[in-house]
Structures are given as C-alpha cells and as structure tokens.
C-alpha cells in the first residue's frame, strides 16, 4: 500500500472488515445465528490477502536481544501467531515462550493509543502527532547539548540512526538493558582483549560445566543452546555429553544437568580456577601455559573446597572429566549468578576454557553477539541527571524506573530533567514519570532491521496496519529533525523506511548485488541476509589476561541468609509481566503462576518451621518484601531466592500490583553491572498464608512410571524400559495379571469388531506422536504455542488456585531422589497432553457422544454437543481434559487482545469440556491442501503447534500407519513406552525414556 492510498481505509473500518470477513473468529455468542450480520468487503482488495487463507511474513523478534527470526502468520490482515523462521541462523525455526508472547505485546490492552502530553493538572491528555513533534522539537532546540537518551534498542539501523542523531545534538546516549551480560564482556576484554560476546556451540561439546548460567532458558540465545544441547546431550549411539551444574540454586538448566553441586554463593571463580590449575598441572604446561601455571598455582583444590563447600575429590574428578572430554565447554554469566565477583567468574571460566583448548572449538569469538552496554554505561548519565545537566531526557525501549533497584534513586534523578519523553508502547514505570508520551509502533507494525550477531542482517516489516495511532521512533527522529533543522538538517530521509532502504543499498553494494529490488524482496522473504560469520579471530591471552583473581564474596547486611534473585523464566526482567500467556504459563521449576514466591531449602524450612504458602518477610539493609514460601530442594540451605519480574507499580492492569519486586532488597552500588546477589536477609514469619497458584499435582511419581528413565549403558545396549528395569535387579513389574490380559484380549477383539461397523473401516491415518524425554528440557515453549494456536483462555490466579487451569499441554516436573539426606535430587520432565488413546476411557462414559473416536484415531471432542457432565474428565487417567468453568471467553481477551484469536479454532463457551485435539485444524487444513493439489498426505504435512515450537525437536507428530513416517519409526524405538500402559488405553503418544548418565562418567 502506498502512502497516497493510505487513507482509503481507516483503522476502525479496517477492523470491522476483519470481523466480518474472517468468518466470525471473534467470540460473540456461541450458537446464535439469528442476529443481522453485515458482510463488509474490502474497499480495495490487498493482492496478498485471501480471506480464509493465512499469509506469512518474515520478521525479527525483539523480545530480548538474541534477535531470533520470525514467521508471522496473518489472517485477514492481522497477526495471529508467531513462529520461528526456519531459514534464520539464530533460531532455525523455533521460538521460546517470550518470543511467541510478542503477539500479546502487539494486542496488549495496556498499549498507549496515541501521543499524549502531561497537562497542567498533571494528567495525560491526548494530542496529535504534529503537536507532539512540535513540542519535542520546541524543547530540544533550547536544550542544546543537554539531552540524554536511554535506549534498549538492539544493534541495527535504528540504533545507528539514534546514536548519530544524539551525537548531532551533542547529547549523551546510553544503550541500557537490565540483563546486558556486562561481566561476560568485561572478562573477554580482560582475558583475551576482545570486546565482544562469544557464541557457544553446545552441540559439539562432550562435557559441559555451567557455573550458574541458565543457558537453556533465560540466557542469551537460549533457543540455539537448547538445539545444541539436544544434539550433544540427547541420546544417540555416539557419546552423550555430561552436564554438570555448579551454583547455589538449580534453575531450569540445573534441572537438566546430570549432576548438581550446590556450592556456596559467590565461590564459582575459586572452583573454575582450581579446575584450570589441575588441568595445567596434569598436562604439563609449556610456553604461555607455564606463565599461566604460575598465576594459577595459588588456586588449589583444597582452597576451592574451602570456598565452595565441595569435597576435594569432587573438584579433582570434575577437572579430570572436563579435561578428558574434547572439546568440552564451561559457561558463566547471566543474571542468576551475577554477584559482585561475576566478572572474576567469567574471567576464570575463560581461563578454564582456554586451558582446556575450547576456544575456537566450542567457544567461538567473531560471532560478536549483540548486548547493550548495561548498568555501567547508565552511571554517567544518571550522574548528569542528578547534577541537573539534562534538559531533555528521552527513554526508548527501556524501563529503568523498574529494572533499577529503588535505592538507585532513578526516579528522583530522572525527575530533575527539565522535560522527559518516552517512546514506550505502554504506560510503564518510566513513562509514567514522563511529560510527553510518543508511543512507538510494535515491532510487527514497523520497518526495521537488527544485527544480532556478525553475518546476520535480520529484517522486520509491518505485517499489519498499526493497531493504534502510534509512530515508529525512526520516523519520529526524522520528523523531529525536519522540524528542528540546524544540526539535525542532515537527517533528511523522507521516512524511516527510505533511510533503512538506503542503508540496505549500501549492504547490497558490498555484496555486489546489482538488482536492488530483487535483493530487497529476497531479503524480505527470507527474513534478512544471512552470511557465514567472519572467520574466528586468533584468540590469545591479553598481556595481563592471565592475572586472574578470586575475591571472597562479601554480602551486605548481617542476616542469616544470602538473598539471590534471578531472571524469571517467562517474565525475563519484568517486560513479560503485562502478557497473560507468560503469567499463566507456569514457571518451569516451581510450577507457580501469576505471583512471586520465595524459595527455601527444606532443612531451612524445617528450622524456620514454615511450609509451602506461608508468607515470609525478607528484610535486607535496603528494604523488605513479603512472599509465600516454596520449599525447594534445589537451593543451597544458606540461600533464599525470589525471581525478578513482578511487583510492577505501572505497566498495565495485568502487571500492576502483582507479586513483589525482588529488586527492593538490593542496593545499587557503583560499578559496571548490577549485582543481583549482593545482600543478606533476615527472615521472619508473618503468620499469613497464601495458597500457591501452582499447576503441579503430586511432584513424586510414586512408582507410576510416568517419566521413565534408563541408564546410558542400558540405552546403548538397546534394552527396552522393562528390560532395563529388570537388568537393574528389580523384580518383574507385573503390568497385568493373566486373568486381566485375557479379559482385555476379549474386550479389544469386540472393540475391533465394533469398528467394522460405521465408517471406521477403510484406509485412515492414525495420528500419533513421539516425545523424546532425553531431549525435552521442560522449557514450555510448546505450552505457549498451544495457547496461541488453540485460543486457550487464560483463567487467572484465583481460578488456577482452584485447579481450573486450561493448559491443554503441560510439562509435568517430577522430583527423583532427594528423599534422604545427601541423596541428590533431580527432575524428570514429561510433556502431558491428551494421549489420544485407541481404547479411551473418556469416550464410553460420555452420555451425549461429545467425546468420541474419530476414524483417524483422535479422541474427538465436539464442543457443540458437550453438555458438561465432566464424566470424561473423571475417567481420564492422564488429567488432560479441562472444563470451561466460567465465561473465560468473555474475560480472557479484553480488547484488543481478542484480535489474536485463531479464526480456524472455535472459541469455547462456558460449560464445555475441552482438550488437546492434536491441532485438528492443522490436520484438516493440510488435508484440504493435499486434496486441492490432487495428492496424498505426506509425512511432515501436519506439524502440531507444540512440535513446531519445540527448540530441541523432542516432539514428532505424524501418521503412525505410514511405516515410512518419522513418528512410526520412533514408535518402534527400544526406549519407547506409553504412560500408564497397564490401563490398556493404547495411547497414540510414545514417550522415549530419558537417559541417565552414571555419576562417574
């Protein structure tokens, strides 16, 4: 659509058109067809839109700095689902929960609807864009160089434009993000003289040690890491990498480790250096190594044992195993291990990788991952604000008023600026302090690009009309420059898109592309331009790189416990707290939704005499917070932990006033980064209690064989789960008695006879699934994908407290071990969804045949037939049927969130049982497509939303009746088993047992 023709259809009209032409995706009333409905056509038909057919656009995710590629599914001109771009080198077709929930940022009810200015009465008042730009230019002119800009935008054309723009004004710019991996960058500078972040190749590593880095979940490039980890750690006939987790608290990565050692907080560097020392001593160092050996000789395993609380033998074993595996990989960094000595830890791990020969193998410099400058870069700007040297302050894609501790005094310092401007899409804590709100387009509504790493130029394009009267900040900068002239006169591009294209013309020239239009359109279709990263630079120790240190950790205050905070798995640094999917999706470790909690070790809980849900008050020198207890074995007894991300005071109705902000307990010391583990807290019982809004049932398997596992040895021998069980010396596990088997045989023969009647005979597919538990990390990307695909309502904290969650697919987390003192605790994850049993307990009990068996093997659920007796849910042994207790369809999607609904799936009303359908809309869609193309279905035509999203490719879907299909072959795998097989449900989902590595690898 060209600029001239833009006014042909305004936004309201546009949305109305969507409502009518989309075949009624928007929930009004269930069955009524009586009301007069209008059919409103397009005025001008868009050439790439066919009503009822999805149009896909490539784009780039901006939910964190990783820069994953997106495929955006649009229907009738609105985005309805985000998936990964298979061609994108960063994420290769997969997308995490936070990325998928970008859709709820687009349609967020808390979005600002247009530019606003603070009126004389202190309230915000709507203004026009022309007025807004005139006001901004009017303030910028007299301000001269007293301008300060805080930007969280990723590296790309926009950030370059912004920095040129600020430089032309003579102002200050800080690229700030809460989790900016500052210690990693500082350590790389210090040890190798390289000011960049390296990429980590987990796929090639044969032994992985994580020093408190949550690389599978909240770390940088978690999708890429999960993919690599599945390759090296998932079961194959070749080597299976072992992963050891060394940290005071087990996060999701820790739960996936083969071993967890709860070391004392802040002692990681001592351990890493001792390991490096042992490696050098054993190998005999030459040249550079000899110098290193001198520097490392002080770091003995005995000293490390003293610091970490680990036995010397364990440290020696770790070093031996780490050195023996080539290549191995040690990782450090991340918010969850960011204490005052975090740079020392990263430097120590650099040395360890260097000594083990991993640099260039599994640690790849040259990739140059994008991170912001972070906390350190913000300090001079804050000082200038405090000194009253800033007349105009502009904040873009950052929320420092929330992500900095209250003790930083950000709000007071920021208030000293004469005129405060925000481009935030939402009224967050920072924009609430501002005088002028210039809400920007969502990333799905604007042109832009990102360079998340070397060799990747990732494009964004508007996939739909803007939902509100917003403006891309790039256009805002250019229009302001036009209004001001003077030093900004050089910014003369007519629009930000023109500016972007001009930059890409430069890129085309360097790539010797002569036809720019073809180059541009090709890049738009692929999602960008992807080249191999430049050859890794030769990495050697910097002149003083070997001078490593370990400083004994010091924590502020005199409370009995060290206080740890960490990045919330879904809410990240708090930016996810306005998206109901991310609030309702459970934390993968604790399974708690919607609110904050404090993790306490069982021994500590016993001492304090507290149980799950009792509210504790934690008091540090900087403040106090109250949160309910979650008793957690995966935490050091001397540590209590609260996740970041909640306790907002603004940021929309979903976020405001929910949970507590763990930052309230932290100080804001000067330095390059904010230490998240820096205080000691005292703990007292408040006497209050809050029922945890948890979706976990019993956290123990109780011998039910739900999450099966076998030893690596047994798996390599090709034993089945039962054989492995017997080989371990257990008695025969009697699944069914002879008598039962006979009865079952007779019964099933009659069933087969029954199916000969009706339309059950004939050449039908049998849809089935295989889930490899050796690959599943429990990350829950599948859960969010299911919410997005199937219009699953979020029910809220109260309803979840009543056990009314709607998660069609959920990740069950079972604890193993840890029942006796000294016994290590591990977690087994099982994605649990409708098993689509051939012999389904739910079907025969339905009095109205709403639950029935389809010819292609699904447990069908006909919503319009269901009368809500709930007999089926009572009879389901897997607890995968969910009852719609309340008018969720009327409360779960406040405008404009309802625009995210998938038009292909019925929105269920109250009183209906619902459950996983194996994405039947995708099955029927693929069948329709195959029929139109006069062909039979092929393996891979149908990919369910969960399988599509899974970063480690643990889920495979297909036709089990087709012997050539991937799923049919996996059903024959020796590790395969079915959950609760003894109930003779004959489910369609085969799980492949998790493979456990021996303690001594």
């Amino acid at each position: 659509m060209t600029e001239e023709s833009k006014p042909t259809i305004d936004r309201r009209r546009f949305l109305t058109v969507l409502g009518a032409s989309s075949g009624g995706a928007i929930a009004l009333s269930g069955c009524s067809t009586g009301q007069v409905e209008k059919l409103i056509p397009y005025l001008v038909q868009s050439e790439d839109q066919v009503p009822g057919v999805a149009t896909w656009y490539s784009s780039t995710c901006t939910e964190c700095s990783t820069g994953c590629g997106l495929h955006v599914r649009t229907r009738e001109g609105r985005a309805v689902k985000l998936e990964g771009n298979p061609e994108h080198p960063v994420n290769q077709g997969k997308l995490c929960s936070r990325g998928q929930a970008g859709l709820q940022g687009l349609y967020n009810p808390g979005r600002l609807k247009g530019p606003m200015a603070r009126a004389a009465n202190g309230q915000f008042q709507e203004i026009t864009w022309d007025d807004a730009i005139a006001r901004l230019a009017g303030k910028l002119g007299p301000a001269g160089n007293k301008v300060a800009v805080i930007s969280g935008a990723g590296r790309g054309t926009f950030s370059d434009l912004l920095s040129d723009w600020v430089r032309a004004l003579g102002g200050r710019l800080a690229r700030y993000e809460a989790f900016a991996s500052e210690p990693l960058r500082a350590a790389n500078r210090q040890v190798f003289g390289l000011d960049q972040i390296a990429a980590h190749d987990f796929g090639r590593a044969k032994y992985i040690v994580s020093f408190g880095t949550d690389f599978l979940d909240t770390g940088l490039a978690s999708i890429e890491h999960a993919r690599g980890f599945a390759r090296s750690h998932g079961f194959s006939e070749r080597d299976v990498a072992k992963m050891v987790y060394l940290a005071p608290r087990m996060d999701l990565t820790g739960l996936n480790a083969d071993q967890w050692h709860p070391i004392k907080p802040g002692s990681e560097a001592a351990l890493a250096l001792a390991m490096a020392n042992l490696l050098l001593t054993e190998r005999g160092a030459r040249g550079e190594g000899a110098a290193l050996r001198g520097a490392l000789s002080a770091f003995t395993p005995e000293a490390a044992a003293q610091e970490t609380g680990l036995p010397v033998a364990t440290i020696q074993q770790l070093a031996r195993e780490f050195g023996a595996a080539r290549p191995s990989l040690a990782v450090a960094g991340g918010a969850g291990s960011q204490h005052a000595g975090a740079t020392e830890v990263c430097a120590a791990v650099n040395i360890l990788n260097y000594v083990a020969g991993n640099i260039g193998e599994t640690v790849r410099f040259g990739a140059d991952l994008d991170t912001s400058d972070g906390y350190g870069a913000l300090q001079p700007l804050l000082a200038a604000l405090d000194a009253g040297q800033v007349d105009v302050a502009l904040v873009h894609e950052a929320n420092p008023a929330y992500t900095l501790p209250r003790t930083s005094g950000f709000a007071a310092k920021f208030q000293k600026a004469g005129f405060k401007v925000s481009t935030s899409m939402y009224l967050d804590e920072t924009s609430a302090l501002c005088d002028l709100l210039l809400p920007q387009h969502h990333a799905l509504e604007r042109w832009d690009d990102l360079r998340p790493r070397a060799g990747v130029h990732s494009l964004m394009q508007p996939v739909m009309e803007p939902v509100f009267n917003t403006m891309a900040t790039g256009d805002l900068l250019l229009r302001t420059a036009k209004a001001m002239g003077g030093t900004l006169a050089g910014f003369n591009a007519s629009s930000y898109k023109d500016h972007l294209q001009a930059r890409w013309q430069g890129l085309a020239a360097t790539r010797k592309e002569t036809d720019f239009a073809a180059f541009w359109h090709g890049a738009l279709q692929r999602g960008g331009v992807f080249t191999d990263p430049p050859a890794a630079p030769r990495v050697s120790l910097a002149p003083r790189g070997g001078q490593v240190r370990y400083t004994k950790p010091v924590f502020e205050g005199d409370g009995p416990f060290v206080f740890a905070t960490y990045a919330h798995s879904l809410l990240h640094d708090g930016r996810g707290a306005n998206k109901p999917w991310l609030l309702e999706n459970a934390d993968p470790v604790t399974k708690i939704t919607w609110h904050s909690w404090v993790e306490v070790h069982p021994d500590t809980a016993r001492k304090l005499d507290v149980r799950d849900g009792e509210i504790l008050r934690l008091t540090s020198p900087h403040g106090s917070i109250e949160a309910p207890v979650f008793v957690y074995q995966g935490i050091h007894p001397d540590v209590v932990a609260v996740p970041l991300g909640l306790g907002h005071t603004e940021y929309g109705s979903y976020a405001r006033g929910r949970g507590v902000n763990a930052l309230d307990l932290l100080g804001a010391p000067a330095g390059d980064f904010l230490p998240y583990i820096s205080t000691r807290v005292s703990v007292e019982k408040t006497g209050d209690y809050k029922s945890l809004a948890s979706i976990a049932g019993n956290s123990r398997q109780l011998g039910r064989g739900i999450a099966e596992a076998m030893s690596l040895d047994a798996a390599k021998k090709g034993l089945t789960v039962e054989q492995a069980y017997l080989a371990e010396g257990h008695g025969k596990h009697e699944i069914n008695t002879e008598l039962e088997l006979e009865a079952i045989k007779g019964w099933s023969e009659r069933q087969i006879q029954d199916t000969k009647d009706g339309n059950y005979t004939g050449d039908h597919p049998r849809w089935g699934m295989a889930i490899d538990l050796a690959k599943c990390t429990g990350c829950q990307a599948c859960v969010t994908a299911c919410y997005a695909e199937n219009n699953i309502p979020t029910v809220g904290e109260t309803e979840i407290g009543k056990g009314r969650e709607m998660t069609w697919i959920r990740i069950e987390r079972y604890w193993e071990g840890g029942e006796e003192p000294g016994q290590p605790v591990t977690a087994h994850f099982v994605p649990m969804l409708c098993q689509h049993c051939s012999n389904a307990p739910c079907e025969p009990v339905c009095p109205v045949y709403a639950a029935y068996h389809t010819p292609d093997g699904l447990n069908g659920q006909v919503y319009n037939r269901c009368v809500g007796t709930r007999y089926c849910a009572n009879n389901c042994p897997y607890k995968v049927r969910y009852f719609n207790w309340y008018k969720y369809n009327q409360v779960a999607w406040p405008e404009p969130l309802h625009l995210q609904l998938n038009p292909d799936v019925t929105v269920r009303a109250r009183g209906v049982m619902e459950k996983c359908t194996f994405c039947i809309q995708r099955i029927r869609g693929a069948q329709n497509d195959a029929r139109l193309e006069n062909r039979v279905m092929r393996d891979g035509d149908v990919v369910t939303a969960c399988a599509q999203a899974c970063p480690s490719d643990a889920i495979v879907f297909g036709d089990v009746n087709d012997p050539a299909s991937r799923v049919a072959r996996l059903h024959q795998d020796h590790r395969g088993y079915r959950v609760l097989e003894d109930l003779n449900t004959r489910s369609a989902i085969t799980y492949l047992a998790k493979v456990l590595l021996p303690a001594e690898a």
Partner: protein, 197 residues
C-alpha cells in the same frame, strides 16, 4: 513449504493494487457452463421489489442480471471460493472495474450504480446484509466442495442465484441435516470432527 509474502509498499494489509480484471479476460467473455442459454432478467420497477424474497440490501444488486443474463461466472467476483474456506465478498474496486464504465441501461439501474460509485468516491465499503450463516463451531471449507463438485456447484447449497433478483436462503445451510443428507447420498465422511473443531 510455506509461501512467504512480503510487504511491497508501506503497510501489508489493504493494498491498492487489486487487479481491475481478474485473469485478464473481460467478464462477458466467460461462459458459465450450466447457465441455460438465455436467461433474461425481468425488468423490475421499484414497486415490484417489495415482494421479493430475502433481505433488502443497501444496493439492489441483481445476481440475475450479472450471473444470469450476462453469464458472469460466480468466481469472477467470489474469487477465493476455490482456494479458501471463505468464498470472498468482492471488494468495491472489483465492482468499479466494470461500473467505472457501465452506468446502467435504465434509470432504476442507474440509481443503484450511483450508490456504488458514491461508496467508491466516499471510500466507504458497502455493508451487505448477510443471507447465509454458519454457526461458529462448524467449519465449511468451500474449496473442498468446489473441488469435489465443480466450479458451478454453488447452486447445490445456494439455490439458483442466477435467477434471483434478490438473494434469499433456499436451503437450510445452517442446519446440520442439510449437510448430512448430502454426505450420506455421496457416501463421504460423516465424522463429526471433519467440521466441528
């Protein structure tokens, strides 16, 4: 392999470049196969229209003239019926493709065409009254039915629209019995989950 679109101009939806004539043929050159050799649409005066069946539309659009007398194929306007579950309601631009030139043969036609041109000039799409409904829990893939029954099978459900001055509901398409009867006759799937999901 999913076919990826990209944004050519400024914003994805609501593009300007819809084709004036689809497939490059003038509409009157296309022959509808099943149309009787000559349907002459009756001349109706304004007083006649009150007795016509079906809801009154904002513009008295006559299918009997377009599809009957002039034998314009259904799919010329309902462009997506063979590829999508949605048949597609023609954009105002599609109407204007002809009516930019054709102003109507008598005054009653001219009045209605004027309304269309006014809508185009004011950039307000025509708000048609919906005649055929389907409950939201039922999915009807138009394209599968066109594939199975042929491009002129519209009349199977929608009746002889080619002879309708004003469209009205002939069959109870919102009644499952209507679907099932046909599915039984043709021995095709009667599985609930084919339509209900």
């Amino acid at each position: 392999m999913r076919k990826l679109a990209y944004v050519v101009g400024g914003v994805a939806a609501g593009g300007v470049a819809a084709l004036l004539t689809l497939g490059g043929h003038p509409p009157y050159a296309q022959q509808a196969n099943t149309v009787a050799d000559s349907i002459v649409a009756p001349v109706l005066s304004a007083s006649d229209t009150g007795s016509l069946k079906g809801p009154r539309q904002p513009i008295f659009f006559r299918h009997d003239i377009h599809a009957g007398q002039y034998k314009i194929q259904c799919q010329y306007c309902h462009y997506s019926v063979a590829v999508s579950s949605e048949p597609g309601i023609p954009s105002v631009q599609t109407c204007m493709g002809c009516h930019l030139v054709i102003g109507g043969s008598d005054s009653s036609h001219q009045t209605e065409i004027k309304k269309l041109r006014q809508a185009w000039n004011e950039k307000k799409p025509v708000e048609w009254v919906r005649v055929h409904y389907l409950a939201r829990h039922a999915h009807f893939p138009h394209q599968r039915h066109i594939k199975a029954l042929g491009p002129t099978a519209c009349a199977t459900c929608h009746g002889d629209v080619q002879r309708m001055p004003q469209v009205f509901k002939v069959n109870k398409v919102d009644n499952m019995g209507f679907c099932i009867t046909c599915h039984i006759e043709r021995k095709v799937s009667r599985d609930c989950s084919v339509c209900h999901y």
